[in-house]
């Protein structure tokens, strides 16, 4: 600390000593207060979700009624209707399959590209990186039609490929950015040690950098899972066979303005759809937090 800063802080010291004297020093009380505040906040924030969950256990016609949490007439008929009658068990499997494959594709292309940007020196590196950032900025609606035409000419419409291929081709600029920042923060000593030992870049990537990038990889996987799970536009455009539908697509069929909407099933299936993502998040939190922490700092 420089002398000037020292003096400044010392000068402000006196009033804060006074303040410090009045602060409650009981750590248990402080902690309990914090918990209470957090719980109150959570109640307010999560009420709509809790309402939806309770409503999903009401009979279909009563699903929309009221604002309170009435626990009479509980039934799992909405869940049964959704999973069996409306094929959602199939949709959940489809969504899961798509998510896993898309995650693999994203990890493949994004870690490779990130390694290049972070560790390798090549011409156009700055230009390409600027293009990478630029790719985040264009609204997706405008790309829909040209992209559809391309896949149509490749005869891929109606399959999962138009949804999967772009991820193997690094379409998620955000994750490339994230992983690049992370790898930049890793110490070069290990790379260089491996290089001295005669390892090629690919070996260095696979044996040194990738294992160290686990937090970033986990972050990518988690966010990618959420994106894939909630994606509606892609499946809507490219999937026509109902047995290939994903969960968000299935949810749209429950809310139709020209006929009967099944609000009970909508709430039930939306509730179910929350569970995998929440579980995934809950278990992988630590890696996520570590992953994000590293990326911001260099």
């Amino acid at each position: 600390m420089t002398g000037r800063a020292d003096a400044a802080i010392t000068a402000r010291r006196r009033p804060f000593i006074l303040f410090r004297g009045h602060r409650p020093t009981n750590p248990a009380l402080q902690s309990a207060l914090r918990h209470i505040v957090v719980i109150c906040l959570l109640i307010a924030i999560l009420y709509p979700i809790v309402w939806m969950i309770v409503a999903s256990f009401r009979p279909g016609e009563e699903a929309l009624n009221g604002l309170g949490l009435s626990f009479s007439h509980l039934t799992i008929s909405n869940y049964r209707q959704g999973l069996n009658g409306m094929n959602f068990s199939r949709f959940f499997l489809n969504s899961l399959f798509l998510a896993v494959v898309e995650i693999i594709g994203t990890l493949f292309s994004c870690t490779l590209a990130a390694y290049a940007f972070a560790r390798l020196d090549f011409r156009f590196r700055r230009v390409l990186f600027a293009i990478l950032i630029g790719a985040l900025l264009l609204p997706s609606q405008v790309l829909i039609v040209p992209q559809y035409v391309i896949f149509h000419h490749l005869n891929l419409v109606g399959t999962y490929l138009p949804l999967i291929l772009p991820h193997f081709l690094g379409i998620d600029a955000f994750f490339i950015f994230l992983n690049t920042q992370f790898i930049r923060g890793l110490p070069r000593e290990l790379d260089d040690a491996a290089r001295i030992d005669g390892c090629g870049e690919i070996k260095i990537f696979l044996r040194v950098v990738l294992p160290l990038s686990l937090p970033a990889v986990a972050t990518t996987a988690m966010f990618m899972f959420i994106n894939s799970w909630n994606d509606l536009l892609g499946p809507l455009l490219y999937l026509s066979n109902t047995s290939l539908f994903t969960v968000p697509q299935g949810l749209t069929t429950l809310l139709d303005t020209t006929g009967q909407s099944s609000f009970g099933a909508l709430f039930a299936m939306s509730t179910l759809s929350l569970i995998p993502v929440a579980a995934f998040f809950f278990t992988g939190q630590k890696l996520l937090v570590d992953g994000i922490a590293m990326t911001g700092l260099k």
Partner: protein, 343 residues
Amino acid sequence: MSTVRQANRAASIVTRAVKAPRSTPVGDSQPQTGTRARRTVRIRRGSGGNRTGRRQNIAYLFLAPWLLGLLGVMIGPMLYSLYLSFTDYDLLSSPHWIGLQNFTNLIHDPQYIQSVKVTSLFVVVSVPLVLVVSLALALFLNRGLRLLRVYRTLFYLPSLLGTSVAIAVLWLKVFGQPGLLNDTLALFGISHGSWIGNPATALYTVVVLNLWAFGATMIIFLAGLRQVPREYYEAAQIDGAGWWNRLWHITLPGISPLIFFNLLLDTVAAFQTFTSAYVIGGGNGQPAGSLLFYSVYLYIQGFTNLKMGYASAMAWIMFLALAAFAALCFLSARFWVHYGSER
């Protein structure tokens, strides 16, 4: 498990190495910084020309999937949409060139102006709000609470529902009349009409929705707070600095890279808001056009009205505006973002 520990160790090495002030001379007792090690290695290797050449080829090998995707699925469509913005294109017949007419029409289109106003207001209100609230909560939760994992997941839950079709129904239950907010206000004797149905307040319900789904931003801040070195706080405590000084002089500079990250990405996302606005605004920006967001109007013109050229022109204007904003962010970053070195 071991790799995580390895990663943590590596990370702490990085933090310590990076913390070393650049102004003080690098003595032998200091851990070897990256540049030094690299220089040594290069001498060992001999002629640098060949190696750098091969390294370049390898780089393109690593970049190959991304480049292929960029050219095929991104740049091609991007350039095509740029071309379309100078044409009159109804998707069914071939586009025909009309030059700058789309752009001049846009300037005189009252609905376009409305969409710009609505979206700008939304961004200006929503982004700072999200940043401040996320940061405040992250600071609050950063005290090593037990059950932190549970709390974090619970706070993150709403952002998983943000783009779901169910959200329109839920939001009506909260902000409609009858609704949760009005019932709560009634307890205090305040009566109010529908928040969603009133053009003056409808936009703010979408702001609240965006805020409700603040989970991701908060998680990022929480992570960043962990990385601010404890030594700084301890030193500050010894010197008697209060919470505001600690916040302003240590915390904020320490997480400034993440503030930057969140500011940029949240603003871009806010400008591109589509699903929540579309779903709550009944697909046409109602009531009275107060929810006619930019992306919603773009969608209406492009897909419902089949004026794809017009919509492409809108998209490119947005793109240029966002690019300018991003450039501004990056330029200004020099003045307020601190990558790891001390203040």
